[in-house]
Each structure stands twice: as structure tokens, then as C-alpha cells.
């Protein structure tokens, strides 16, 4: 077989194939539920109900989507420049760490503490990605493996801090950091609802990244470097510097997920702060085809699947890992579908 490019794909193709990918994912979900001995339709019902069935559920989904928007944006920004940042998990923890350190150790008043915490988080996350990017631009070391390995190193580093210097003396022996003071926490968006300003910040960041990509010279440079680094270099775009700038933005965005989780939701740092938000950010970004505004939509969808599956698995005999399978499958189906909107498969 062979792939032939399609000059002008029909709307039926550009819309139909992604729809087919979604249908395939749903079919897989049904099969998985059936294997578990549950009624597929009931399972779907429970997932949807668990995700958006009540005010509480919806707020839970929005809360879960918040860090995913940040990590999704981080991955989308990096992948645009073909910078394979698989280390959003480490950058998230770096951000969370700085948030806690600044928030609990400096004793600053709230209005001063919060911006400084956010800024510190961004710097920390950016620095974590800077290392692998310098290794890539200077020595040609593949950033996929280095960013992946840094996730493990960061997890151990956090574990050390939480059992050592950063351990909460009042924590009854649990490895967790001291809690942020009240006034160093992100306020609720609406009084009485469990949704904090981190969500609004995530939306603002999505808008900001979109404007950056489409309207600024840096955005243009990032896209050129990602599409064709050779042509970019020839045209005078400083490829290495653009990659470094991209890394700083990407690492900073991922770190904001850590900031928002700590300052908005949890109030302290534990080593299970992120249930793989960094890795899930890859799925979020890919499902959004790397579009910053699409990231918001896909983060909401992914969060809904997770929250819904958690709730469903409490009621039915279907393990909650169904969510991970579906999202991984959706990713693979979707990249295939998008390819087939541009190419047709021919014999020979």
C-alpha cells in the first residue's frame, strides 16, 4: 500500500474521519464494558452522569480540567516547534514546589505572595526544561528520553524534600509539605462554588498562547522551526534560540499547573499531587491538534472522561482504567483519522 496526498479534501472527509475516530473509541468503550460484564449503555450513562450529571460533578470536571489545560498548552506549544517535551510532569512538580516554598517560607502578605508564587513556579518549570533543550541544541541529545527521565528524577527529589527539609512538622508523619497560609491561596471564582481562579488563569493562558502563535513574530518563528528547521535556519531564524524560548514558555505553562493545583485546590504539596497530569497533557494537546483554544475543549473532554469513569467504577464493576485505555485509543484513532483526511491509501 501507499499514501497519495489529496490536494483538496472534501468536507465529508475532513469531518467524517475524525467523527469515525470518535465512534471507534465509543465502540471500544462498549467492548471493554462488555468484557467487564457490564451493560455498555449503562456504563456510558454512568460516565456522563459522573462527569456532568450534577453541579458537583461538573465543578469536579472543571477542576480536573484546569491542570490539564496548562499541561496541554505546555505540550502543544512545545510540539508546535517539534520540541518533544514529555517532561510536563516534572515541570508541574517544579512549579508546585516553588509555589509551596515561596508561599510558606517567605511569610509574604497574600497580594504579594500569589504573583510571586506564580512567577517562581514559571521560572522553576522553565529551568527544568531548559536543561534538556540545551542538551538538544548544543550536543544533539534527544530530548524525548531526557525529559522522560527527568520525570523520575523530579519525583524522587520531591519525595526526598517531603520526607526531609520540606516535611510538615504537623503532618503526623505523612510526607507532605506545610499548608499555604489562607491568604496565599487562589480565591474561589464564585463564592460558595468549589472552582478557583486557576481555571480562569488557564483560559487566559490559552488565549495568550493562541495570540502569541498567530500574531507575533515569535509565534511565526516557532511554527517555522517546527515545520522545517532547515528552511528556518536558512532564512535567518535563530533555531536554537527559538527552541530555548519555546522551552521556557512550555516549561512555565506546565509549572502553572502545579501552581494552580497547590494554590487553588490542595493547599500543600504531596507526592501524589499529579495523577499523571503531565503525560495526560500529551493526549490533551494531540486531540486538540495542538491548537491552543482546542486544548481547552479537549482538556474538558479528557477531564470529563476521567471524572466520569471514577464515578462510574464506584457503581459498576468496570475498572476506572477504562478511561486511560479510551484516551490512548482516542489519541491513536485521531492521529490516524487526521492523516487520512490528507492522504488516501492506494494499492501498489
Amino acid at each position: 500500500m501507499r499514501l497519495d496526498p489529496i490536494a483538496a479534501p472534501t468536507p465529508a472527509r475532513t469531518l467524517g474521519l475524525p467523527a469515525l475516530a470518535i465512534l471507534a473509541t465509543i465502540a471500544l468503550a462498549a467492548a471493554l464494558a462488555a468484557i467487564a460484564g457490564a451493560n455498555p449503555l449503562e456504563t456510558f450513562g454512568l460516565i456522563v452522569k459522573g462527569a456532568v450529571g450534577s453541579k458537583f460533578a461538573t465543578l469536579e470536571t472543571l477542576n480536573r480540567a484546569t491542570p490539564l489545560i496548562f499541561t496541554g498548552l505546555a505540550v502543544a506549544t512545545a510540539f508546535r516547534a517539534r520540541l518533544w517535551n514529555i517532561g510536563a510532569e516534572a515541570q508541574l512538580y517544579a512549579g508546585a514546589l516553588m509555589t509551596v516554598v515561596i508561599g510558606t517560607q517567605l511569610g509574604l502578605p497574600g497580594p504579594l505572595a500569589l504573583p510571586l508564587m506564580a512567577l517562581g513556579a514559571i521560572v522553576a518549570g522553565a529551568l527544568v526544561l531548559l536543561g534538556p533543550v540545551l542538551l538538544k541544541t548544543r550536543l544533539g541529545v534527544d530530548e524525548v528520553v531526557t525529559t522522560l527521565l527527568l520525570n523520575f528524577i523530579m519525583a524522587l527529589f520531591i519525595s526526598y524534600l517531603l520526607e526531609g527539609p520540606l516535611k510538615d512538622p504537623m503532618g503526623m508523619g505523612w510526607p507532605k509539605s506545610p499548608a499555604l497560609p489562607r491568604d496565599a491561596r487562589l480565591p474561589r471564582l464564585v463564592e460558595g462554588l468549589r472552582l478557583h481562579w486557576g481555571f480562569a488563569l488557564a483560559l487566559i493562558c490559552a488565549l495568550g498562547v493562541w495570540v502569541m502563535q498567530t500574531r507575533t513574530t515569535l509565534g511565526y518563528e516557532i511554527r517555522a522551526v517546527g515545520q522545517n528547521p532547515q528552511a528556518a535556519r536558512f532564512a535567518g531564524i535563530p533555531v536554537g534560540r527559538v527552541l530555548i524560548k519555546t522551552a521556557l514558555i512550555s516549561g512555565g505553562l506546565a509549572a502553572l499547573a502545579g501552581f494552580s493545583e497547590v494554590a487553588g485546590l490542595k493547599g500543600n504539596l504531596t507526592s501524589d499531587l499529579s495523577p499523571d497530569f503531565g503525560y495526560t497533557g500529551i493526549i490533551v494537546a494531540m486531540l486538540a491538534l495542538l491548537h491552543p483554544l482546542g486544548v481547552v475543549v479537549s482538556a474538558l473532554f479528557v477531564a470529563g472522561i476521567f471524572v466520569g469513569s471514577d464515578s462510574m467504577s464506584r457503581a459498576a464493576e468496570v475498572p476506572t482504567y477504562i478511561a486511560d485505555i479510551l484516551l490512548a485509543a482516542a489519541l491513536l484513532f485521531m492521529v490516524l483519522a487526521i492523516l487520512l483526511t490528507r492522504y488516501r491509501v492506494v494499492r501498489g
Partner: protein
């Protein structure tokens, strides 16, 4: 018909009604011809006429939409190079198909025999390869790594690969494009030996003098159609040219140059070799206003290094680079652009454009930070679009519009956009690296006329080409590059092509140096 006649006219290969479409383009339109034993048939046509497509169908790289290939009376299953090889068809591709990390012998052995056999049987294979080398005058060391071979040697390996598999029909796709005139003559000698032993050859070319020299019959393709089939001794170059292009060819004839000041000077300049590519080795070069300086040479002799240096992609490791008399420090593409150098890169797909960008985005690739395209880090896309639309109109770029992706454009129109991008910046120095490679005659003439016009307006043009004919047509002065060194400067008409060929082969440098 006598018995003797049938023996002489024994048909080894027959193509009937081959049709191949790529999207809206019909690359081959119902083409039929046959090849006799011991015959050299030339397949002549412009770039894009469909020659390579046709041969790729014959060899099984492509599957035809219609038509049939027969070898020795047996229909060839479509789309299977393995079947073509087994039937005795061999192909020497224009872009060599060798694995650089393996030896010559390993490349020859690849795909011969069963994949599942327990050993490679190298000793016997080496003996057979050496025997073939001697029979056909194709000298090459079986145990050399391909990465270390010259272009000419690689071509010999490609031919040996086919002979090792008992090819009875050999297809050569533009085989002389990478050779010196002398190497080309040696190749022709080898081909004559093959024909004498009963092999048949299909020779793809767009060079008339070669076709006249080697073939017994010429097939002419134009826009995917077979427009002519003539015995070589019944035709002449003029008739073939007219058949090939469909009109008389008028090569541009530049008026006498009026050279001015030296705009760019390279003195004792060297660059670091990169991988298999040689660097520059202590070259001196003056590029003057109002003059086209042509650099001739065989592919891979430092043209890439010279182009990279002038376009700012690499910096000198030794020696001096001067622009308008001032020594240059901190050399990079931006510095080159700021110094007034316009660059037409060798590979318009990989270096010149970003395939998934629009025409507008590609048009501003070198000026996206400058007013009116941008201000203080913010893009002004409507201004960029207006600039691009003006450029599209002025340089006659045929396209669906400024917001179409450039990958949809033909090579000629892509090159016109690049040319426009370069010329609109009013460069004082123009680097034109293989500016017309792969273009059809119309686009070739257009690009060449624009370069001559820029020269007449006072620009210094550095033309790098592997096509000696192009160098001879356009250049006011010629220098030959060989293994990273430059020959002395020759005036137009001072040297014959054969003399230049000797320089291209590296002869003469030792005396000069």
C-alpha cells in the same frame, strides 16, 4: 521476414498503453514502445515530461493506472521491483539507492537470494563481483564502505548491482548529471560493451548531445505524451529540441558584461567538512558587481560548502571574508541578508520553503521582522499579504492565492516565489545555487533572464551549477570547483567543455597551487 531479421529484432521489452495520473496531472498518457536486444534507446524530454515516472512504472516503483509491461514476452506483475529484477530489468536511479553504512559487496548482495538463508556467502560473491568489474571496466573495491566512495564510484556500484543480478535491460536515469565529461565518456564505453554482449539499455536524458552520441533510437516525451520516435541517424539536435519542447529553444544570450567593483572577497578561506561533504580548502574568490561568476563542478566537490558559506549558514574556519572591502565578523544568515546577499537555495523544497506554510508566510520568511510585515514583535499579516500579492503578480507565480499552502505549487512557481523574495529585497550580491534544476523550459528561461537582468542592473551573481551547459550559457567568468578548491578564473569562451572537464576531474590544481 527472414530468420536473420527476427533474430536481430528480438524484442526484450514492450510497454503498451502505460497511463499514470497523480491527482489532476497525467504524468504518462498511454505510452507504448518496445526495446530490442542490443539496442540503446534514449528517452528524451524536459524535466517533468514523465520520463522518470515511466521508468519507475517499468521497474515497479509505481503501479500504472492502465497499460502493461512485458519482458521477454512475459507480462510483468505491476508494482513489484522484485519481479522486474527477476525478469532481468535493472535500474540505476538518479538518486543513488545505496546504504552508506554498508560495504559495496553488501549493497550488491542486498536482496539477492532468500532473506532466510543462514549465511551471506561473501567469498563467492566477491569473486563474481570482481569478475564483473573487470568484464565491464567498472573498477571498485568490493570491501570499501559506500560512505567513502566518490559519486562516480557509487554510480559504478549501482551498475554492478544490476549486472550482478543478470540484468538484460538496464535503465539509466540521467546518469551523466553527476559526472565529468570524461567520466561520461567512460560510462558510454561501458554501455557499448554491454550492448555488444547483448544487453539493452534505456538511457534517460534531457541533454541532446549525449542522446545523439549514445543512442540508436530516440523516444521523445512531452507533457506525459510520447510525441516522437526517431532513429538517431535520421535526426539532428535541432529536430529533437523542437520535438522535446514543442517550439524552438532560444537560449538566453546575455550581452557583454560590464564588471564593476569587488563586492565580496574570499581570501585563503577554508570551512570544516561536514560528514561526507568536503569543506572549502583555502579558496580565493572575488565576486564583482555587474558580472555572473559561474562555478562549475561535479556534484559533491564543495559546492554545498561554498553556498552555505556565502548564504551565512556556515562561518569560515580559516581565512577572510570581506563584503565591500570590510572584513566580516559574526557571520550567519541574518548577517548575510543584512549585507545585501540574496540567496536562491539549491533545494527549494527543503531549504527554500516551508511546505505547510502559505505563500504569504513563505514570502516573508526572510523579512518577517521588518516593517511593514511586523512592528515591535507583532505581525501585520494584512500588510504581509499585500506585499505577497504584489510579488505574485510581478513574478507571475501561478497559484490559487496568497493564502494557499505552497506545497500545492509546481516547482517552477515555487522557484518564482523564491526569486521574487530574493529580488524584491534589491540584493547587491545574488547566490544562485542550481537555480533551474528540475524546472521546465519556460521556468528555466524566466529564471535565467531575471538573473541576467539583475546583473545588468549592477548585482554580482554567483551561479553554482552542476550542469556545465548552464554555466557556459550564463557565465561571464567561470571557475571550477574540485574537492573544495577553486580553479583560476577563465573568461567566457577561454576553455572548451573538455578542458573544463579535466579541471572538474581535479587535473590542473596541483600546478596551479
Amino acid at each position: 521476414m527472414t530468420l536473420q531479421d527476427t533474430a536481430r529484432d528480438e524484442t526484450v521489452l514492450r510497454l503498451s498503453g502505460i497511463t499514470k495520473r497523480f491527482g489532476a496531472l497525467t504524468a504518462n498518457d498511454a505510452i507504448s514502445f518496445s526495446l530490442a536486444k542490443g539496442e540503446v534507446v534514449a528517452l528524451l524530454g524536459e524535466n517533468g515530461a514523465g520520463k522518470t515516472t515511466l521508468m519507475n512504472i517499468l521497474f515497479g516503483h509505481y503501479t500504472a493506472d492502465a497499460g502493461e509491461v512485458e519482458v521477454f514476452g512475459q507480462a510483468l506483475p505491476p508494482g513489484q521491483p522484485g519481479a522486474a529484477l527477476a525478469a532481468g530489468v535493472g535500474m540505476v536511479h538518479q538518486h543513488f539507492t545505496l546504504a552508506d553504512n554498508m560495504t559495496v559487496l553488501e549493497n550488491v548482495l542486498l536482496g539477492t537470494g532468500s532473506l532466510w538463508s543462514p549465511g551471506l556467502g561473501k567469498p563467492a560473491a566477491r569473486r563474481r563481483l570482481q569478475a564483473l568489474s573487470e568484464d565491464f571496466g567498472l573498477r571498485v573495491d568490493p570491501d570499501a564502505r559506500v560512505a567513502e566512495l566518490s559519486v562516480g564510484e557509487r554510480q559504478r556500484v549501482e551498475i554492478l548491482k544490476a549486472l550482478y543480478r543478470d540484468a538484460r535491460v538496464l535503465i539509466l536515469d540521467e546518469p551523466t548529471a553527476v559526472l565529468t565529461p570524461q567520466e561520461a565518456d567512460a560510462l558510454f564505453l561501458t554501455l557499448r560493451r554491454m550492448v555488444a554482449q547483448g544487453l539493452s539499455v534505456i538511457f534517460i536524458s534531457h541533454k541532446l548531445h549525449e542522446v545523439m552520441a549514445i543512442s540508436s533510437r530516440v523516444l521523445v516525451l512531452r507533457h506525459g505524451k510520447l510525441v516522437g520516435e526517431v532513429a538517431t541517424h535520421d535526426t539532428d539536435r535541432h529536430q529533437l529540441a523542437t520535438l522535446m519542447v514543442g517550439a524552438e529553444i532560444t537560449a538566453p544570450a546575455p550581452a557583454e558584461a560590464r564588471p564593476g567593483a569587488v563586492l565580496m572577497r574570499l581570501a585563503g578561506l577554508s570551512t570544516t567538512p561536514q560528514g561526507n561533504r568536503p569543506g572549502l580548502r583555502g579558496i580565493d574568490l572575488d565576486i564583482k558587481a555587474g558580472q555572473i561568476l559561474g562555478v562549475a563542478g561535479v556534484s559533491g566537490n564543495g559546492q554545498g560548502a561554498l553556498a552555505d558559506l556565502v548564504s551565512g549558514v556556515t562561518s569560515p574556519s580559516e581565512g577572510r571574508l570581506e563584503i565591500a572591502g570590510d572584513r566580516v565578523e559574526g557571520w550567519n544568515p541574518r548577517a548575510a541578508l543584512a549585507a545585501g546577499i540574496g540567496r536562491i537555495p539549491e533545494d527549494r523544497h527543503r531549504t527554500g520553503t516551508v511546505a505547510d506554510f502559505t505563500l504569504t508566510e513563505n514570502a516573508v520568511l526572510e523579512s518577517y521582522r521588518d516593517a511593514p510585515n511586523a512592528r515591535a514583535g507583532w505581525m501585520n499579516w494584512s500588510a504581509a499579504r499585500r506585499t505577497t500579492e504584489a510579488l505574485i503578480a510581478k513574478y507571475d507565480v501561478r497559484c490559487p492565492g496568497s493564502e494557499a499552502r505552497i506545497r500545492l505549487l509546481s516547482g517552477g512557481n515555487m522557484q518564482k516565489l523564491i526569486l521574487g523574495r530574493v529580488l524584491e529585497a534589491a540584493p547587491r550580491i545574488i547566490l544562485a545555487n542550481q537555480p533551474v534544476r528540475g524546472l521546465d523550459i519556460g521556468a528555466v528561461t524566466y529564471v535565467q533572464e531575471q538573473l541576467i537582468a539583475a546583473r545588468d542592473a549592477g548585482a554580482a551573481v554567483l551561479l553554482i551549477s552542476e550542469d556545465l551547459d548552464e554555466i557556459l550559457t550564463l557565465s561571464d567568468v567561470i571557475r571550477v570547483i574540485s574537492d573544495g578548491r577553486l580553479s583560476p578564473e577563465f573568461a567566457r569562451g577561454e576553455k572548451t567543455p573538455a578542458e573544463l572537464g579535466q579541471w572538474m576531474a581535479g587535473q590542473g590544481f596541483d600546478h596551479a597551487a
